[in-house]
Amino acid sequence: MSRFVFATAQYQSGNWDSAPLVPPNIIDTLAQYTSLDLAPVGAIVPLGSPSLLNFPFVFLTGHLPVRFTDQERSMLQRFVERGGFLFVDDHNHDIDGAFHKTAVEEIERAIGPLRNLPNNHRLYNCFFEFPDGPPTTGHELNGWGDNLVHEHLLATMHGDRIAVLYSNKDYSSEWNFHPRTKRFLSVDPTRFAVNVIVHALTR
C-alpha cells in the first residue's frame, strides 16, 4: 500500500514556503487520529514538474501575488484532469488580498470557476463533525482586528469531486506551529485538516 505523502507545491512566483510548519503538524495530526499509512515527512514538489503527478494531494499557500508559468498551469490542468486534489489556502485571510485575487484568477484560468462549497458537504463530516461548515480561525476573529469571517470554502469541481479546495480562512497561520504545542490547546485546530485529507483519500 502506498503511503500518503503531504506534498507542498513550490511555485515560481510569490512565497510558497510561507508556512513551513504546516506539513509536519498535519502529519502529526493524521498520525494521532488515524491509522492511515503516512510518510513521516512531507515533500516539496515543483508545480511545473512532472513529479507533481506522483502526489495526488498537494497543498499550496502563500501571502504574495501568484502568477503561474505556462508549465505550471499546464501541469496543474493535467493534475486535476487525472484526479489530483489541490488544497489552496490564503495565508492572508482577507477578501481583497493580493494572494486571494491572483490565486483565484490563476485557478479559474487554469481549472475552472471556484464556487461556494455548501456547509453541509460531506467534507465537514467525513471524520470529525463540523456542523457549521469550515471551522473559524483565530486570525479571522481577532488576528488582524477586522472580525472578518469567511462563511464558506470555495471549490472547483471535477465531475462530482472536489478538484481544487480553496480557503481564505488562513489555516496556514492557524496550523503553522510546532506539533508539540497541541498539548496546550483545548481544541486542536488541525482537526479540520484530517477531514480535508480523509475526504481527498476517499472521494
Partner: protein, 446 residues
C-alpha cells in the same frame, strides 16, 4: 359367281382380321409401354429443381415435390447457398424419407456473434471472423469494418439485429446475429483502507459507470462508508478487496464467491486466510516497478507487482509479466475469483502517458466484468431468434452436409413429359381396342 363372291368375302374377312389383330397388338403394346414407364418411374423417381432466384424460391417446389409419392429424391441446384430456414426445411424433408441433395456456391466462411457484457453501460461484445473483408451494421446503421482473415472482438451497443456482409457484395448478408439476453448488473463493493489505491479504483469504476459501495478504513474505530457493506449477490456484482482491513467480512466474501459473486483480490488481501482459500494462487516476493514504463505501451510494467505463485490447477493466468503471473482467475463454487498482483495502479492513472486515465478505467472495469455476477434478465430481442444466422457455412455443413456437385441434373419437366406420354399411350390403347371391337361388331361377331 357364287364362288367368286365367297372368295372375295373370305379375302375381306382375312384383311379385317389382320387389321383387328394389328389393333389388338397396338393396344397390348401401348399397355406394355405404360407398364414399362410406370416401372421406370417407380424405380428412380427424382425431381430436380434448379433456381437462379435463390434458395427461398425453391421452397414451394420442394414442398410440391415431396407431396408426390413417386418422388424419392430431390436435387436442388441453387444460385445461392440455403439460408437458415431453407436448411431447416431440407433437414425436415430428409427426415420424412425424401432424399435431398443440393449444390450451390458456398459463401465465404465467417463468424458473427454478439453477447451482452456484464458492464454498467449494457454494452455488447461482438466476435467477428471472416475470410473476406466485412462491413458490420445494426438497425441504426453501419458500425465498423473488419479486414479479411481477422478475428476481432469489439465492444459496441447493438441496436436490434447485427448484420455482416462482404465489402465486395452488399446485396446479401453473410451472417446475422442479435443480442438474446440482457444482464442485470449490480453494484461493486470496494473494501480497504483509505488510500490512493482505494480512491482511484473507486473513481475509475464510477467513471466507467459502475455504482460503487465502499468501506474505507481510516482508523481502528472509524471508517468512511457509502452504501451497503455486507457482500450480497442480491446487491453486488463484484467485491474488490484491497487489503486486510476487510477482515471482518472475509468469511462473508468467501461465501459470497461460492454462491456466485465475483471477487477481486489485491496482494494485501491474501493475508486473510478465508480469502486465501478461494484465491487462484499465493503471494510471491515484490517485483519493483520498471522505471519509465508508466508512459510506455506497457504501462503496468511501471507498477510494483507481487507475482502470483503456486497457481492452482483450476486457475487460469490471464496476464503475466516477465514470466511471472500477474493476473489469474478461478471458479469457486458458482462464482469467480480474480487475483491481481499489481499494486499502486493509481500511479498509472496519474503519471501514465496520454490516455492513461481512460486506459486505467477500462482495465479496472474489465477486471470487474470478468468476474461480475450478472444474472440474465431474459430476451432482449424483439425479433424471433430464428432470424439469426451466426455461422452460415458451418451451420450449412453441420445441418445438411456439403454440396453435391456430382448429382446429375435432370430436366425439371422430365416427369411431366412422361405423364403426357402416358396419356397418349392410354389413348392409343383405348382407341385401338374400340376400333377392333367396332370392326368385329360390324362383321357380326360379338
Amino acid at each position: 359367281m357364287r364362288s367368286l363372291a365367297d372368295s372375295a368375302q373370305r379375302g375381306g374377312r382375312r384383311v379385317r382380321g389382320a387389321i383387328e389383330l394389328a389393333l389388338r397388338s397396338l393396344a397390348v403394346l401401348a399397355v406394355l409401354a405404360l407398364l414399362v414407364l410406370e416401372f421406370m418411374d417407380s424405380d428412380s423417381a427424382q425431381r430436380s429443381i434448379a433456381t437462379a432466384e435463390g434458395a427461398e424460391s425453391a421452397l414451394p417446389a420442394i414442398a410440391a415435390a415431396v407431396r408426390d409419392p413417386r418422388v424419392h429424391d430431390v436435387h436442388l441446384e441453387l444460385a445461392t447457398a440455403p439460408d437458415a430456414s431453407t436448411r431447416d426445411l431440407i433437414r425436415a424433408v430428409r427426415r420424412s424419407g425424401v432424399g435431398v441433395t443440393w449444390n450451390a456456391p458456398l459463401p465465404p466462411a465467417g463468424l458473427l456473434s454478439v453477447e451482452p457484457l456484464a458492464s454498467p453501460g449494457q454494452s455488447q461484445r461482438l466476435t467477428v471472423a471472416s475470410e473476406v473483408p466485412l462491413i458490420l451494421a445494426d438497425d441504426a446503421g453501419i458500425l465498423d469494418s473488419v479486414p479479411a482473415g481477422a478475428s476481432v472482438i469489439l465492444g459496441a451497443h447493438v441496436s436490434g439485429s447485427l448484420r455482416a456482409w462482404a465489402a465486395s457484395d452488399s446485396a446479401r448478408a453473410l451472417a446475422t446475429a442479435m443480442v438474446r439476453d440482457s444482464l442485470h448488473v449490480r453494484r461493486v463493493l470496494v473494501l480497504g483502507m483509505a488510500g490512493w489505491e482505494s480512491r482511484f479504483v473507486t473513481v475509475a469504476l464510477e467513471e466507467a459507470g459502475w455504482n460503487v459501495d465502499a468501506r474505507l478504513g481510516v482508523s481502528p474505530t472509524a471508517t468512511v462508508a457509502q452504501g451497503v457493506i455486507r457482500p450480497d449477490t442480491a446487491r453486488h456484482s463484484a467485491v474488490v478487496v484491497l487489503d486486510s482491513s476487510a477482515a471482518p467480512y472475509s468469511n462473508a466474501i468467501a461465501d459470497y464467491a461460492r454462491s456466485g459473486g465475483g471477487v477481486i483480490l489485491l496482494p494485501d488481501a491474501l493475508s486473510l486466510r478465508a480469502l486465501r482459500s478461494v484465491a487462484p494462487g499465493g503471494r510471491g516476493g515484490l517485483m519493483s516497478a520498471e522505471d519509465g514504463m508508466l508512459a510506455s505501451p506497457e504501462p503496468r510494467h511501471g507498477l510494483p507487482m507481487v507475482p502470483i505463485v503456486g497457481v492452482r490447477d483450476d486457475s487460469f493466468i490471464l496476464e503475466d509479466r516477465d514470466g511471472a503471473a500477474a493476473v489469474a482467475i478461478r471458479r469457486t463454487g458458482a462464482g469467480r475469483v480474480l487475483q491481481t498482483g499489481y499494486q499502486e495502479s493509481w500511479r498509472w492513472r496519474l503519471a501514465g502517458g496520454e490516455g492513461a486515465p481512460v486506459a486505467h478505467r477500462a482495465w479496472w472495469s474489465s477486471l470487474v466484468q470478468s468476474v461480475a455476477y450478472a444474472p440474465s434478465s431474459g430476451s432482449a430481442v424483439s425479433q424471433p431468434w430464428t432470424h439469426a444466422d451466426e455461422t452460415p457455412v458451418a451451420a450449412l455443413l453441420a445441418t445438411i452436409g456439403p454440396p453435391d456437385e456430382s448429382a446429375p441434373l435432370q430436366e425439371a419437366d422430365t416427369i411431366e413429359s412422361r405423364g403426357i406420354f402416358r396419356w397418349w399411350l392410354f389413348g392409343i390403347a383405348i382407341l385401338a381396342l374400340l376400333a377392333e371391337w367396332a370392326s368385329r361388331r360390324f362383321r357380326g361377331l360379338a
